[in-house]
């Protein structure tokens, strides 16, 4: 059972090493497609040094935030990050954000697998009630991946993004603890376990 909580079928989650992570971010930031899929802020091109300071500061933010690095199983190659932010313990709510940095690592199942691990952590370990995320309507790969992990679309904020002079919607997706449990049960039955 050792380590089971952080090992999936394709990926494992590990602690964030600020130095390793900042070098990866320095590279990922230069792919504007990655940045425009990832968040709604203007992309910044910070130095590895500056990114490292920022990551170190963020890691100190304590018990509301759970940050992980993503590695393929049995590899030392850092491929992405995933981060759970508890918005409220009282309401049992958290937001999750995920990114696989290199384009050649997309569509290989890594993102979905890592998301499943984080959901297991959120529900089994932190006992949260629900997890939410925001995703851009022009990112069908991410939407599909989240649906595979069990999220459902709960609505869309119209026109909340402006890029290249065009407006797009931001979708909000969510998954409840109970839905996640039902899904675990169904998966166990399907695998005859």
């Amino acid at each position: 059972m050792m380590n089971d909580l952080f090992r999936g079928e394709l990926t494992r989650l590990a602690a964030v090493d600020a130095e390793k992570m900042s070098k990866a971010w320095e590279r990922w930031n230069r792919d504007v497609l990655f940045r425009r899929l990832l968040d709604n802020e203007p992309p910044t091109l910070w130095s590895a040094k500056k990114i490292q300071q920022w990551i170190e500061k963020e890691l100190e933010r304590g018990d509301q935030r759970f940050s992980f690095s993503i590695y393929p199983l049995d590899s030392e190659r850092l491929i992405g990050f995933v981060e759970l932010n508890v918005a409220s313990w009282q309401h049992g709510n958290a937001w999750v954000g995920i990114g696989i940095g290199e384009r050649e690592d997309w569509n290989k199942g890594y993102g979905t697998d890592a998301m499943r691990l984080v959901l297991r952590y959120a529900f089994d370990e932190l006992d949260l009630y629900r997890v939410s995320l925001g995703v851009f309507a022009y990112n069908p790969r991410a939407i599909r991946s989240y649906q595979k992990a069990g999220f459902v679309i709960e609505g869309r904020e119209r026109g909340a993004l402006l890029r290249d002079g065009e407006r797009s919607d931001v979708l909000v997706m969510g998954i409840l603890h109970s839905e996640w449990e039902a899904q675990q049960g169904a998966m166990q039955e399907a695998s005859g376990g």
């Binding site: 309401h91 709960e154 869309r156 904020e157 402006l162 407006r167 969510g174």
Partner: protein, 202 residues
């Protein structure tokens, strides 16, 4: 354009600054009212002394100065400058033109008199005419019927329903994201306020 048209006053109420001498005592009383706390936020209810409230105001003003993503107003009666509530435009995302709006009227005797509607009208004008935003969002738990009515009346529509996100009064409630776009606001504002009218009146 009509730069003399007031941004901060309407028929009965006005938006104003914090008054450090008078407001903390008043807000401290509101912090004992469970109904008010239930409606104004999702934070745990917390009794707050006037001294703590002063500190909170200082933190708000510091954030306004440093982060530039918050516009905080007190709501006051025009007749005597009495504090009746608070309003915020916040988490402003300047590059995409988005922001969040919230407001609360503290004393139950001041509710259901149209002051919230007047306040929201001023906030919308400030957000769209002054900040040049494209859209605004309000986050309202489904149990807040008065809040839902206020925003719906002003033209907001339900965009997102975060299922069972709120844990209050012994059960789970959905959290609604209501949104309004600039176009929608322009279409429903009174004709004599509309941009075209004002432009052609030159």
């Amino acid at each position: 354009m009509n730069i003399t048209q007031s941004l901060f006053e309407s028929e009965h109420i006005c938006l104003g600054p914090i008054n450090y001498d008078k407001d903390p005592e008043i807000e401290a009383r509101w912090s004992e009212d469970a109904d008010y706390l239930l409606m104004v936020g999702l934070e745990p209810a917390r009794l707050t002394s006037p001294a703590q409230i002063k500190k909170k105001y200082e933190a708000i003003e510091k954030r306004q100065e440093e982060d530039k993503d918050l516009f905080f107003f007190t709501i006051r009666m025009r007749a005597d400058d009495r504090l009746i509530g608070f309003a915020r435009l916040e988490w402003i995302d300047w590059s995409n033109g988005c922001g969040y709006v919230s407001l609360g009227i503290g004393d139950p005797n001041d509710r259901n008199r149209g002051y919230g509607t007047e306040t929201l009208r001023l906030l919308l004008r400030f957000a769209f005419d002054e900040l040049n935003l494209h859209r605004l969002t309000a986050l309202i738990p489904e149990y807040n019927a008065a809040g839902l009515r206020l925003f719906t009346k002003a033209g907001f529509v339900e965009e997102v329903r975060r299922r069972q996100a709120v844990n209050r009064l012994g059960r789970r409630w959905d959290l609604l994201h209501l949104g309004i776009l600039r176009d929608e606001w322009e279409a429903q504002r009174a004709p004599n306020e509309s941009t075209r009218e004002r432009l052609t009146s030159f």
